[in-house]
Subunit: 349 residues, 2 copies
Amino acid sequence: MTIDLSEIKDKTNLRGISFESIHLDLEIVDKNLSVELPKICGPLAEIISFIMSASGKRIRPALALLVGYLTSLDSESLKSTNSGKASLKPQHFILAELTELIHTASLVHDDLLDQSIQRRGQETIHLKWGTKVAVITGDFLFAQASVKLGEINNTEIVSIYAQVLAELCIGEINQAQSRFDLSKIDLNNYITKSTNKTASLFSAATKSAALLNQLPNHQVEQMFSYGQNLGIAFQIIDDLIDFTSESKELGKPAMGDLMQGIFTAPVIYALQDETVNLQLKELIKTRFADPGSLNEAKALISSSGGFDKTLQLAESYVTKALTELESFPNSAYKENLQQIAQFVLKRHS
Amino acid sequence: MTIDLSEIKDKTNLRGISFESIHLDLEIVDKNLSVELPKICGPLAEIISFIMSASGKRIRPALALLVGYLTSLDSESLKSTNSGKASLKPQHFILAELTELIHTASLVHDDLLDQSIQRRGQETIHLKWGTKVAVITGDFLFAQASVKLGEINNTEIVSIYAQVLAELCIGEINQAQSRFDLSKIDLNNYITKSTNKTASLFSAATKSAALLNQLPNHQVEQMFSYGQNLGIAFQIIDDLIDFTSESKELGKPAMGDLMQGIFTAPVIYALQDETVNLQLKELIKTRFADPGSLNEAKALISSSGGFDKTLQLAESYVTKALTELESFPNSAYKENLQQIAQFVLKRHS
């Protein structure tokens, strides 16, 4: 139940959180994804095994399982006297796995679209195996997620995840469309994009896990809101550490977003500050042809308080996420869900 | 109800079939795909509109609608005396649309994977707009298909289509893996690949349309079998006309499969003939570096009877498809389904 800091080798790696409460369950999910899945992938086995064994954070599966336990406790305590027994349904495991599959599939295609060269400290799929393999591998992972979605046998969950797939595309398209476009810089747009790109999959996992336990609507919505706010905070911190961490820690080149003209919260806040606005805009217009200009931009953002404000923004979403948990019964699962929210912020420090 | 040959400008274009029985319904499907869909595609509107307005055959939507009508007639005649009234459920339209969406999405990604330069007489998406646009457009179309799949609200149909997505990938991977590989030439492998690549989507449409009308299992399976056998015949004829038609008629370079080392029924049959086996193998080993060698190969296949045998193979699948229709009530819908099966063969002549 505690965050085992000794295991945290990389600030960006949430595997370091030791979830005693779902440790064995996560191992099952991990085995299904890294060992069982490649067995049915034919010629893609090696590639799928490489991807699924890479040091992913598995935060999305953990959320599905933890909310599954937490809300089983709740619904059972409402229905019977057996209030202390939390349990998962087989569908919660499928949910955990398909959520990770969608996440991974979107990473493979996004890395191709963004021409990223590194992911989790490894070469990206399109660099290692080529464009064709990246396209078909992403498609295959999306297809396997759909197969698992069918196995859950719940039409509401199908609709939720279908919407997620659409939003992932919309988020990616909007990001590609607005590169280096200073006219589209706006905090609301940024939050919408972060919701589409990241939070919608988080909230799909938490909402669906609650739905599987037939919770009343308002509690399902609380779990949705927990996932959504957590997801937005997660993306904000991701964007922050893209500036503040070193490439080695990130497992990919630092300040990659800025270099590619993707303007995240720190830049948006800095541009709101009149003392640095003009200088920063001038740097952006050079498209960072001079490598030193990235660090100049970073210094401007820092002096304008852009990083602090970004952290505060993430904190506000974490607070909202934590509030949604309050009315649920105290348990190891609730504690873990609180820890995940707090850990999202700690990734920065 | 008649095949209006005057409208057939292109042998590969099934739009020429005039389906009076579902004419207006197909127009609704067409409008939803070509006009309504682009409206929600944001920056992709122009591209989606271009793709969905291209002269697709719409054979898959037609199958969903015709089977929908035919099986409504049947189930109603079992339940009541009102046996003459055929009708569609709103879900049949969604089914028709999502089937075409999956087909179109897979074409966009397949053209990218195969580096095809033309489709339906137009430049392919990846050539016209680039790799990134082709990846995201395919993903977006798959996602929209998923959204519609959710709207159908039937978990069995979700599972059927999820399986189709997986099989499309497997078909594409196996094809890529076995290029120019003479050791993998086998008629059973070829039929399996054709089932994965083409027939599984046909049978998903026909089976699901029957399922929506709550038909008894054995009739659902008959509709599945109709779609599957028709789909296999369709793919066989597609592979045949890749040899026998001109590039202009095909809307893409002729003998593209052979050029890329994809060995279809005509080649498989020719290689079974000892009189041409060695010569054909020698040509294949040159990978058709000399442009004239493609026509040499075509002559060898023709002299071995490879084209005739391929046509006979397709005919045998069409016969199986037609048999599955026999026990269903006579109607315009049944006639149209028979005509589609016969038209699949006529595309060759």
